[in-house]
Amino acid sequence: MSSERPEVSRPGRYAMAFSVFALLALIWPIYPLFGGIRPMILGMPLSLFYIVAVIVTVFLVMLTLFLWEGKNNRLG
């Protein structure tokens, strides 16, 4: 099967798995675990701080995978 498809690099596969995980982290049943008010972090209730933390994590992880892929990206 996979031989007929374009080769997906290892960072590409991680990126795909991570994307699905990131979506799940923002909805039920994972978000309810962090949906409370306390502790307040950086002045924000936990429910908001958690979302901000997910945004920053998504950015950093995808940036890392993108740089890891490095050479492949320049082939476009």
Binding site: P6, A15, L26, I27, P29, P45, V54, M62
Partner: protein, 489 residues
Amino acid sequence: MMESWLIVFLVTIGYLILSLAVGLYSGRKASASTEGYVAGDRNLGFVVLYFILGASIYSAFAFLGGPGWAYSRGAAAFYIISYGTVGLLPWYFLGPRIARLGRKFGYVTQAELFAHRYESRFISCILATISLVAFVPYLVIQMKGAGYVFSIVTEGRIPEWGGAAIAYGVVLIYVFKSGVMGVAWTNTFQGVLMMGLAWVLGLYLPYKLHGGVGAMFEEIARVAPELLQAPGLDAAGNPWTWAGYSSSIVISVLGFSVWPHYFMKIYTARNIATLKRMIVFYPTFQIFLVPIMFIGFAAITAFPGVTPVDTILPHIVTSMNIPPLAVGLFCAGALAASMSSGDAIVHAAASIMIKDFYGVTRTEKLDGPLEIRLIRFSVIVIGAIAYFFAAVSEYSLVHLLLLSYGFIAQIFPTLIALFYWKRSTPAGVIAGLLAGCAVVIVWNLVPSLQWQQMHPGIFGIGVHIVVLVVVSKLTAPMDGEHVRKFVEA
């Protein structure tokens, strides 16, 4: 001493003149072909691409509706930040393939790819119809937002219909003249202005009203803790269900990456690396929505009982003693939010109407110069239709707006089948799309079908996938040689 409303008005007009200048000047960079007018000669760089997508999504809804949600529904508003964070990630995998096929076969719209893969003009017409039905109410809301801002800042001296006409007159001129390049560079200018203002207002207001962001949230936690507890409240003020919150995010995420006016921007990228880098950096744009939320939260205890809730931001700005120059900048920011979405929609809607609908119903191909003339003409027509609903008609489009995300999300399963399922057939795809949209309509019209406030689009997607698979299996497979061009792209 100049009257303060006049200063506010002059700042707003200054912004409009700058937008117009940027929009008209930028058109000189593109060629006179359809590819130039619709896809910017496939030569857009990272910064412009980042802002064209960032600013098109942050519409009047984010700037006025976002604080309104935070103010009335609390943590429910976090769904708006959440979906944009992951909404563009499908492009990381599919975007490069779409861009390569676009270069190879010369696509500039979404439906061109789908129609070619499934060798069906009918698919093109269905997609064009779904797009236009979803676009018009969206555009109307943007125009209403712009008119509203004008009327507030001039203290009613310019009526809402007049304000909408001035702001969208400017938009139509630069989209008509410069096409996607006008959209791209004005969005960059408008995006920077909007983000700057969001941070200034979002930090200033909690500080001024409560002594800081931390103190503000402490106060809300004491007075109205239910607002900070995820997933916040529903429209009626009762606690929202997790099914409602989660399904809204899922439908928005599926819809996000296939909204036709975003999707078309994949073709505009200079190269694959630029496209992927933009997708990686895209979540940073979401951070801009956090201070927007602060604005709404700041008003909860300071300005209770304001209705309609969407007017909370202008209400704060005009009732606090803020210097007129700053109020003017706020108005410019709100107009920027409205116009940076409206311009992308009007441009995409016109291109789709001509290329994907009118173009495919004809037997011979449209020649380039005629095609551009028709698209420019459609820019004016679509602008006029939306303006009619925004300024003249009393007809409420709220219902159509609710349908639009549910409709648009139906394009996502088709996109996946296009690239990953060789056995999918034109009949399967058409039946799936129509069944999905029909289910969304029925679920919206018959409230008793609701379960746990689940988004109607979820049921649509479920039925869509089943119908797509069953009908594809029952119909003859497509030519393997043809399908391989896409599945192995």
